[in-house]
Amino acid sequence: MATNYDWPAAADRSLIGGNTSRLDGPDKVTGRATYAYDRALPGMLTARLVTSPHAHARITKIDTSAAEAIKGVRAVDIMKGEGTEVQWVGTEILSIAADTEDIARDAVLAVKIDYEVLPHLVKEENIENAGSAVKPASDKTEGDPDTAFAQADVVHEGYYGLPTITHCCLESHGQVVDWSGDEIIVYASTQAVGRIGADLAKNLSRDESIGNVSPNQIRVITPVMGGGFGSKFAIDAWGVSCAKLSKKTGRPVKLMLDRDEELQIAGGRPSDFGTIKVAAKKDGTLVAYQSETWSTGGVTSRGAPPLPYVMPPPNHKVRHLSVATNTGPARAWRGPNHPQAAVLTWGAYTDLAAKLDMDPMDLLLKNIGLTARPDVYRKELAIGADMISWKNRWHPPGDKTPGPIKRGVGLSMHTWGGRPHDSNCEVTIHPDGTAVAAIGSQDLGSGTRTVIAIVLAETLGLPVEAVTVAMGDSNYPPSGASGGSTTVGGVSSSTRRAAVDALEELKKVVAPAFGVDADRLVAKDGYISVSGADQRLSWKAACKKLGARSVMGTGKQPDRNGGKLADSGVGGVQMADVSVDIETGVVSMNKLIAVQDCGLIIDLKLAKSQVYGSLIMGVCWALYEERIYDQATGQYLNADMEFYKLAGIGDIGELDVHMITGDYDDRGVIGLGEPPAISPGAAIGNAVFNAIGVRVPTLPVTPGKVLAALEKGGTA
């Protein structure tokens, strides 16, 4: 009989779907959790970067002599030599390792670099000023949009957009590299324990003075990491340079980015701006969508947002331009390209509904058949409407209540894939009852460690505290990078298979003691029992029968023998309730709700945390966050946490999360990091429109923009 790896039926689950607290919680609340930034090794040096103060320039001369003369300076690594062009403020030019952080900082100030300053472009919203920096990125047409627009009853055209935001990981990018003999250990703040070793090897091997370095020489260790959100997949130039400094000095070297560097060079979700034209019949049936949009991903293109989003009318024409700017390069940010697409789509549909004198909820329901998951969205819209009291709260655009505070609601929908990534796991059961899952994955704070433990414990019939998870180390079996909501499906599948196989090995050893076939044994509630009989052994007693050997199972995702434990493709809806002060322009959150499906939920508490976190990050970029450059100087004006604004604990209002549980368990596990991070901006922007009756065209919805929009009409 083929082994059955399926998830246990709902009635047989004791941990899956429950509310287990994160297992690394105690280490984090006590300060014991050791991040890359906290790592201290004997003899360790600290390195700092020298970066470009210019947005665009050619390096003509580098003089490090004064820096190298400072007592305690141990090595300099030139990352970009004389003659090199730098293309954004903050570009890494060289790194300096010294005995202490303060000495390294002194040395940075003593470096003298001459530049030939070149013309720059750092702002893209006003595309007329971008000239030759504008390049076509994508252009696609379906149906016959021109005829559809000509024949439509109602057409709306508007301008929408959102600027680049940065990741602003609280633990900045960086690592400690300890290069000793042939072995290189990298203690990294990374989303890709299994990948950055090979990335580093490839980069080091390009340097002739170093020669060939094999990934096999490199070990990556990341027990915990302080936030990535899509920005920490690569070893990055500073990681390579850190390794070179370690090789040069023969000592461990720590190089973590400073906060300004973190914001300048280590994160950036691309902007999107543009004109959206949409058309419908009188009854609200959507017939056409046309977009002329542009964005910047830095000096290279970031691709294009997936327009029209989720609900494409039969006729559409979407054209996207890329503007090359001298700004820090784009990196993946939760739900890459989708948050922008949501803003550009639901804003236009909400405004079209207003023109049709329709509630936007009715417009979406009318056209729900245009989505890939009509039943999912219909149900979620109904649940969400209840949660936010949509019927009571929604009113035609512009709150007519007397007084300066205007209230309104808005909504948004989203989708994401989240297929499981490739993953390998080994589960070992020892004679003392210890059960260990070894897996080369990483926990970004999303709860991956806890999910692995739950799957292992559930499979072995043990409490979650009784099992051990060994992860965050590239010496363990390779598992994918944590991005695109692919981790939970990958690691839960590989762990389940490994645990089932390991348990089978144990059952084979234990079965003779009961005088039954191994397949009659069941592991549950801390016992190995004979199914349908009154015979059982405690887990420890059963494992003792292993004698002096341990048994192991290995699990893979995907499994070449097939079997489906995980899936991809979810839908979610979000709704916002805001108040706007029309005298000051200040927007404040009353309530933000999310309804989300993600297949079989392993840990409901941590799943909800992912969604709450997404909503709160969404309040940040809907109302506060923006990377601001100055065209005159090319400078990044707010590369700090005072003026790069994030929401505080008092800015978020009431939040409510509804996870769809039960309905889609059969699909298996589906990732959750991206989908709920997509909709908040669109929902909040639309709620502001409903409150004041005039569109604030771009996020973040700052007081100044609200007042400027009110000048043009609306509630005031």
């Binding site: 994160r22 006590t30 952080e101 906060r259 209540t401 505070i405 990050m617 506060y624 005072e642």
Partner: protein
């Protein structure tokens, strides 16, 4: 911290909008106290010491210079004694070293995190003489003679402080990098506000920033911890 607070129709809470008052008190209080201390060593007196240079003239200045010279230390390493979690640590540090760098780079207390390094985010929060302080913005030399509590002192062995316990219970943490600072800020807040409302929690903790978005869990954790610390008595 950077938002504008929540609006209500009657705008009774309007006065709290703008920069978080509590968090600015938090740093300002620490600074002003320091500057008033007669025998202490503050950033200001240090600046006065080094600020009187060769360009200065006049008898008054010369007198001041002579006086300042008696107090002048550095810029090289000087002996300092820091009382951390009840234990005295003797260290040789340059006067410019912040309390945060002293803790993290010189004394192996890495629970306080360096994030903004500019008194904005609260990840470096420690408790100095009972008040939460941004350790990135206090000099180590200023912290001498004071009681410094770090996150490492909060639990007794394996027994967690109620704030820690309820941060776990309510999942008031994700990546965990803001967590030690948030936990200590919460503890210091509850020491002075044993029965807070949700609104008071939001004001009291607006000097700490989380990027993963854990505020919902944090708010509840602080309320739950307040309840337990009061001995289970019901809140507002």
């Amino acid at each position: 911290m950077f938002g504008y607070g929540r609006l209500s129709r009657d705008r009774t809470d309007f006065a709290t909008k703008g920069r978080c008052l509590v968090s600015s008190n938090k740093t300002n209080e620490g600074q002003s106290k320091t500057q008033q201390r007669k025998n202490g060593f503050s950033r200001r007196t240090f600046m006065q010491g080094v600020g009187v240079g060769t360009g200065a003239v006049g008898a008054g200045v010369l007198t001041q210079e002579a006086k300042a010279a008696q107090d002048l230390v550095g810029p090289g390493p000087v002996a300092m004694s820091l009382r951390i979690n009840g234990k005295a640590h003797k260290v040789m540090l340059e006067p410019r070293v912040t309390l945060l760098d002293a803790l993290r780079n010189h004394l192996d207390y890495t629970g306080a995190k360096k994030v903004c390094d500019r008194a904005t985010c609260g990840a470096c929060t420690v408790i100095v003489d009972g008040n939460p302080v941004y350790a990135c913005s206090m000099l180590a030399i200023e912290a001498q003679g004071r009681d410094i509590e770090t996150i490492e002192s909060l639990a007794s062995g394996d027994e967690l402080h109620p704030v820690q316990k309820f941060f776990i219970e309510n999942d008031g943490q994700q990546c965990g990098f803001c967590t030690p600072g948030f936990v200590l800020a919460s503890k210091a807040f509850l020491d002075k506000n044993s029965n807070p409302t949700m609104a008071e929690v939001e004001k009291g903790l607006c000097g700490n920033i989380c990027r993963c978005g854990t505020y919902v869990g944090v708010r509840q954790a602080v309320l739950d911890a307040a309840g337990e610390l009061r001995g289970g008595a019901s809140g507002d």
